[in-house]
Symmetry: C2
Subunit: 454 residues, 2 copies
Amino acid sequence: MAQKPSIPKGTRDFSPIEMARRNYIFDTIREVFKLYGFKQIETPAMENLSTLMGKYGEEGDKLLFKILNSGDFLRGADKALVENDDYVHLTSQICEKGLRYDLTVPFARYVVQHRNELQFPFKRFQIQPVWRADRPQKGRYREFYQCDADIVGSDSLVNEIELLQLVDEVFSRLKINITIKLNNRKVLAGIAELIGAPEKIIDITVAIDKIDKIGIDNVNAELRERGLSDEAIVTLQPILAIDGSISERLEQLESLLATSEIGALGVKELREVVSGVEVLGLRATLDLDVSLARGLNYYTGTIIEVKAQDVVIGSITGGGRYDNLTGVFGLSGVSGVGISFGADRIYDVLNALDLYPDEAKDSTRVMFVNFGVAEAGTSMKMLKELRNAGIAAEIYPDAAKMKKQMGYADALAIPFVAIVGETEMTQNKMMLKNMVTGEQSLVSVEEAIEIIKK
Amino acid sequence: MAQKPSIPKGTRDFSPIEMARRNYIFDTIREVFKLYGFKQIETPAMENLSTLMGKYGEEGDKLLFKILNSGDFLRGADKALVENDDYVHLTSQICEKGLRYDLTVPFARYVVQHRNELQFPFKRFQIQPVWRADRPQKGRYREFYQCDADIVGSDSLVNEIELLQLVDEVFSRLKINITIKLNNRKVLAGIAELIGAPEKIIDITVAIDKIDKIGIDNVNAELRERGLSDEAIVTLQPILAIDGSISERLEQLESLLATSEIGALGVKELREVVSGVEVLGLRATLDLDVSLARGLNYYTGTIIEVKAQDVVIGSITGGGRYDNLTGVFGLSGVSGVGISFGADRIYDVLNALDLYPDEAKDSTRVMFVNFGVAEAGTSMKMLKELRNAGIAAEIYPDAAKMKKQMGYADALAIPFVAIVGETEMTQNKMMLKNMVTGEQSLVSVEEAIEIIKK
């Protein structure tokens, strides 16, 4: 009967130490979200498939986890689909619900569904897991958390400036040195206009993105392969070559895109955002990256991406402005801008740089040794007083061998052990042992509280 | 193209106000769990169906949400099952995973899978949603949170005493007056032994449970209907009639069950637990209830149930001792005791009694009015200083009409509004308005911090 238990591939158990570290990240992000006036919402793990399908492209539809209808799911299903092995159409007949794939589509659904209760601009944050039936690999999971903050119902660039400060504050608290890369979708549109190939904009950004890795010649070869005319490639060269400080690069970009109305607007927006955050002061390094696209079809203005400086890892945060979040659900004209923190990658960065504070260890502060019923009785009274003073404390539940009990305290890195034997009982005191220094002293509860709280 | 969006029945969106209230409950429980030395874990939303199936009875198997295998799920499935409408067997061929139904089975799986990394006794807590394909009705959802704390690997009654104190502390912090009902599975076994009908123990407890509602005569009639002999019913009468204080009732029970070894042991355990918590002092009312069973097949010792005193609602917390949590996964001899807080019911109690503290409202403290680029620039500098002082603050992102901006602050119950117009800019001050009293004064950032923090 006994099974050897395991969990589905791509999913994880989180042990107490991992939880303490993850909570440290989530708590930090949550606290900054609140400091910036964002309000938390939660949406169900399951959404109707009609809400999810078609929102993430054909590939995304395949990566949705679908939930089998309860009861006799075959009733009403077209059995000919089974005969024809048409599992795709059969799916839509036997599954009505799916697990959320990200927090953006559920948020858009939420905004439309609750629009009459909401106050716009609506500043929401959401920290919940999402699920993707992706092939699991190192750093890619089938269940992972997203931490999103969005402002919808306002097209002011003040929101971009706020979000960049928020990102700066989160990583400053986490002690991670970051570079924030900026771009603007309108600049990309301007470039496409300039070279007369608006339909090639994705090919262009994909190629440009590789400059550092493969060099300008290979990028140009790739652009040719992707069907760009020689003329277009020539026109693109000065854009690929822009250089210098952010303001120098903005200047070059401005003159290069002067003939494109949308391109010029993009440069103007970038300028406003950059000068806005620079006036307020940013600890992060700011960078302008015209190859930055991040899901181009989605963003319409500012595009943001964050990388850690001291460890090689993909982007740890990203976001941008979108003009039509809720259009697909029948509510148009809702512009917004948002940011998404990648908790798993941030976790990896903190691990790699060993940046967890002691508090993130989060353990019990004192353990009482258990010598039997009478001693445990006295210990539990003292225990209660320690807890009333806010000290996380426990008693070893069994009167096991001393060695075993001390081993438990040791393994859990509990910093103090309290010993209440016969002698201590008569004096109503405890022998308090510091597990790090080995020091011990006979103290009252009040004295113990003072020592432990120090 | 536009869809009218909705969410699956039995699921819920949580708005910012609901989130603040729920977080107040979860934070309170989490803090007390930690104070008592419990360590947090999390397990995946999806478990293998082989882990979940057969653990909750036949009915439970039906209530599991099953996840359709990715890709061509029909490959390898027996199509004859479709022809025969045998959806039950087909399910096991097209679904490998399901959503967790509770936190107990995943915890048992976790303990077995990670047993070599764990320190026993292992005190874990877990706060996560679970999913059940139940028929939705008032107060019953298809997605809801469980908050569980368990100690496994120790059969000491110290654990029971600790858990009862923990329950007392949680509800004391939440300001909910509670009654804790206690029973012991061994007492029930003793009663069954006494009346010579061990297989009737469930029928007996179900009937006894109705005494208050339907009276002793109807209970006896029901027992007869359920197949109890007249002799057995006669033997049961003194047990149904036990009365008085807890210690009086324990005494009566002791003499009634004196001939049953297991029954006597149950009474002894109850005595130890009751006197253990009474010595330490309990704010809750303690009650002995021999009809308390709570999933009898599962518990083997102490059984605990908590009810709110000031509002009529089902049990808001429950738990007990089990002897063989992990046997089904091949690890026997792991005894444990646990408690589960019903967050949704606690939420309903707090709402009914209006017991939420102001902090649970959790809103932004100050909003800066936006008069345009220059003023917003100065405002954002002040805003940054307020946030550096730990004050949750925001700026209205658009230079909208004053009325609209004030309406926003009002709707979100933001207690202070800061106005930085031309005059204020030149003085580097803000006009700070208290939205409750209507008072306003021209103050520096430092003064504002002091006023808002008061």
